[in-house]
């Protein structure tokens, strides 16, 4: 519990209307987009400036109060749940796009800017921020950076860390630091900025970011490729890449997901297909034409049953809408869904998918697979019910083996969601203890009182 007198202090710093303490408000900040992690904070504070955040951190540090930074609350690993109580530091009111520099292809933003708002604003200048976590309608830039988020476009464009030029950060002790700058090249001392990108809010609060932007490609095309065997779809991914085409996106939907999407909103996906791959090519029109032809040719050569090139934007949008609906299709179908986000080297996708199917049989659990096949980041999802103990235990065992398989194939636990609470127990098991020790020392150096988003990653 936080001393009553401190509430007055917080009110003095951010204004009375920006401090919430009613039981109802605390409940509304007890969750994020994960299913099972819930914990109420003692207070929710909405700062509007870096200085206010610094002052709050100083008090929290002196009083040893846990602080959980939070933006849109779309996290899917429990990272924004205040699991130790204390302060939720909510950045949603710091949502200004401060500057768009067309000459430098960069933008300066506050942490509470919602990605879709940024995308819409940048489009007016013919620019875009390539990393595209599919929570873009609610996800805020602070969280996107702290989680090093990615999405479908990462096969060609890379993840968030490749698009951050500079950061302003408030440390857990209240000091304000600036890392990086406004240039693409920067080798002045240790590359500390990347310790904060993917720190999951455990090292400091991101209060401002300088983003690297790209010009919007003038043309794009969508290709839907149908497979009778999902492993063949997995192979299709690396066959296209090794034959010299790097599409903007390559997404995978399995039979189960296709059928749920068709139930939700019939749009003519092939219901009998074992899997489909959705490709998007983008770039200058001539290149897009050529790359599209090449994808059609290669996928046909390597086992595709049917290849459809979307004839117009409407048809293309329809396919991408289906892909976006995939997530909802999965979550709407079971009381508890374990949706993971492992990543494997791309050549291992077919083997990994086969393994998932075997595990689904072995433990008799309902499983589906969708994901960003192009970068080897897949979302094997198990549908279960936490209230059905026997079934749930089997699901947990199956997921344990999925993680182990991912690592066995040379992959990682999390491609884009982060460790948070959801994967903490696997983290300890799979990471080198020496590396964990280094990470903990960095944490202790920056956050001596362990107040910054405690309970995440390794506890």
């Amino acid at each position: 519990m936080i001393k009553e007198s401190l509430m007055g202090e917080f009110q003095k710093i951010v204004g009375k209307e920006n401090v919430l303490t009613t039981p109802e408000a605390l409940k509304a900040y007890s969750y994020d987009a994960t299913t099972s992690w819930i914990h109420e904070p003692d207070v929710v504070v909405f700062p509007t400036t870096t200085k206010e955040i610094s002052e709050i951190m100083k008090i929290a540090n002196a009083e040893k109060i846990p602080v959980t930074p939070r933006g849109g609350g779309t996290n899917v690993s429990g990272g924004s749940v205040p699991i130790m109580g204390g302060i939720v530091l909510c950045t949603t009111k710091m949502n200004k796009i401060l500057k768009i520099d067309k000459e430098n292809l960069s933008a300066t933003v506050e942490p509470g800017v919602v990605l879709q708002d940024l995308t819409m604003r940048l489009a007016k200048d013919g620019l875009f921020f390539p990393p595209d976590p599919q929570s873009f309608l609610g996800a805020t830039m602070g969280g996107i950076i702290a989680e090093n988020a990615g999405g479908p476009a990462c096969v060609k464009y890379g993840v968030t860390k490749q698009y951050i030029l500079g950061l302003e950060i408030v440390l857990p002790t209240g000091e304000i630091i600036n890392l990086g700058g406004r240039t693409i090249k920067n080798v002045v001392g240790y590359d500390l900025i990347h310790i904060f990108i993917s720190s999951e809010g455990t090292l400091g609060v991101i209060t401002k970011a300088e983003l690297k932007l790209n010009p919007i490609p003038p043309a794009r095309k969508t290709i839907m490729v149908v497979y009778d065997d999902i492993a063949m779809a997995g192979e299709g991914v690396f066959r296209v890449l090794e034959n010299g085409v790097i599409p903007g996106k390559i997404e995978l939907l399995d039979n189960w997901v296709i059928n749920r999407i068709e139930e939700m909103m019939p749009m003519g996906l092939p219901k009998e297909a074992d899997a489909v791959l959705l490709f998007e090519t983008d770039g200058i029109p001539e290149a897009v034409e050529k790359e599209t032809e090449k994808i059609v040719e290669i996928t046909k050569k390597y086992g595709a049953r049917d290849v459809r090139v979307a004839k117009d934007t409407d048809e293309a949008n329809k396919y991408w809408l289906a892909r976006r609906a995939g997530f909802a299709a999965v979550f709407g179908k079971a009381p508890t869904v374990m949706a993971e986000d492992i990543a494997v080297p791309r050549g291992k996708i077919p083997a990994f998918i086969k393994r998932c199917r075997e595990l689904s049989k072995k433990y008799d659990v309902e499983m589906c697979i969708l994901g960003h096949a192009g970068d080897g980041n897949l979302h094997p999802s198990i549908l279960t019910d936490i209230k059905n103990k026997d079934q749930y235990d089997r699901a947990v065992k199956a997921m344990d083996e999925i993680f182990e398989s991912a690592v066995e194939f040379g992959g990682v636990l999390s491609g884009e969601h982060g460790i948070g609470l959801e994967k903490a127990k696997f983290f300890k098991r799979i990471m080198d203890p020496v590396v964990i020790d280094i990470m903990k020392k960095i944490k202790a150096l920056l956050d001596p009182n362990n107040i910054m988003n405690p309970g995440k990653i390794w506890d």
């Binding site: 969750y31 994020d32 949603t92 949502n95 929570s135 979550f331």
Partner: protein, 422 residues
């Protein structure tokens, strides 16, 4: 444990939410406040806890579920198809049951509006004192909120000198003297009745000119929107039954108010307490048509056959989608077809045409500051079109649009779609 009967009726929607937070992008209130209790996800989570007995029906909960426009943007864009607007209304109904209507403080609705005659007299009284209020150019057309909105700096438009109920005939035969093609019951709605009687006469003339018999039953009541959306289902049912009774011998029930048509259709969704009521309201729903829908889908008038009134020739028009048309009834193509078909009028689509204007019935009475901010975004869309006239088909929206056009010193005039045609 508190009574949870009303909330239980919407439990299936409560469970559908997967907390993804996408509703934050679409919620006009969240967009202004950026606080979780403003948005569907937060409200739904509290409803979930209430169902588990972990959240009491506190005043604070009342305030939270009260702060919703019921614009349905969250539901329309929800990837899990969770209908959280239904949860909000269900929670309000539960609140009214458990705590009384006091939490919304809208006793005026129950006491005055539910009594058609008293309401009329009340409005007459208001008219007599109208000269005390600031003069405006537009007209107010949605009375439930008028009385409470005074004193907040809102532009209060003029109330009609003679109400439609006083001048309209109960039976209006087809003008050609032939056997009627069909019998239509005209539902006036407060706005058309008290503020805009000429619109009512206009619609009746339009229909009778085309071989339709129009009956305006004296027994009709208020549609009940402000009442049952506030959670007072008991009074809502009373009004619903009066209307069902008043319109029992017609082929269709037509109204020129988008909120009324949606409210009448949705009795079957919100109000039934038993199977008999369910059946009765469902049968009623099938006969209700919004005027914009009726002329296109039922009368099947080709859009190019509508004739523009002289005074609108050469004007540029844009269309505002009322929430109760576009999302409650999926009516969006019909009005656009009419506007695009009108020779002499140039139609321009506004950006975010389906964005709520911010009125939300009684919402704007209690949260006028938020209403103004939301309306500000609507005004930006209107400005971007360069239109001379803003056309819509819901008097609730019209009040708010008129108010904000004036406050922003914009040149646009606001009209009901049917005011434009001969």
């Amino acid at each position: 444990m508190e009574d949870l009967k009303e909330l239980k009726k919407v439990e299936k929607y409560v469970d559908q939410c997967m907390k993804c937070g996408f509703c934050t992008f679409f919620c006009p209130v969240y967009q202004e406040e950026r606080v979780e209790t403003s948005v569907a996800r937060g409200k739904n989570y509290l409803a979930k806890l209430a169902l588990r007995g972990e959240q009491q029906f506190t005043d604070e909960l009342g305030k939270i579920i009260g702060k919703c426009l019921l614009c349905k943007r969250c539901s329309a864009n929800c990837p899990a198809k969770a209908q959280i607007d239904r949860v909000v209304v269900g929670a309000r109904a539960q609140m009214v049951k458990n705590k009384g209507l006091g939490f919304i403080k809208n006793l005026v609705f129950r006491k005055v509006m539910a009594n058609r005659k008293a309401f009329g007299n009340y409005v007459r009284l208001a008219r007599a004192f109208q000269w005390l209020l600031p003069k405006t150019e537009g007209k107010i057309r949605h009375l439930p909120d008028f009385l409470k909105a005074l004193g907040q700096g809102r532009n209060i438009p003029e109330i009609a000198k003679v109400f439609l109920r006083d001048i309209v005939k109960e039976m209006n035969k087809p003008q050609d003297g032939k056997e009627p093609k069909m019998r239509v019951g005209f539902f006036m709605g407060c706005a058309t009745d008290f503020v805009y009687p000429e619109l009512g006469l206009k619609v009746i003339d339009f229909l009778t000119k085309r071989g339709i018999e129009v009956i305006v039953p004296k027994g009709q009541s208020c549609c009940g929107a402000a009442i049952y959306f506030s959670g007072d289902f008991e009074t809502g049912r009373m009004l619903a039954d009066e209307n069902v009774k008043a319109f029992k011998d017609v082929d269709y029930i037509v109204t020129a108010c988008g909120t009324c048509s949606s409210t009448l259709k949705d009795y079957q969704k919100y109000l039934p307490d038993n199977e008999e009521q369910q059946k009765r309201y469902e049968a009623f729903e099938k006969k209700v048509k919004d005027s914009t829908e009726f002329v296109i889908d039922v009368m099947k008038i080709p859009p190019e056959e509508f004739k523009l009134k002289k005074e609108f020739e050469g004007k540029v028009a844009t269309w505002h989608d009322p929430c109760h048309l576009v999302r409650y009834q999926n009516i969006k193509d019909q009005p656009r077809a009419i506007l695009k078909g009108l020779k002499g009028l140039k139609y321009v689509e506004m950006p975010n045409a389906d964005l709520c204007c911010g009125m939300g019935g009684s919402f704007s009475v209690y949260h006028y500051d938020i209403t103004k901010k939301i309306a500000g975004k609507k005004m930006d869309g209107i400005k971007a079109t360069g239109a001379d006239i803003v056309v819509t088909a819901c008097p609730g929206c019209m009040i708010n649009l008129i108010d904000n056009v004036l406050q922003n010193k914009m040149p646009q005039k606001v009209y009901h779609l049917l005011e434009l045609v001969e």
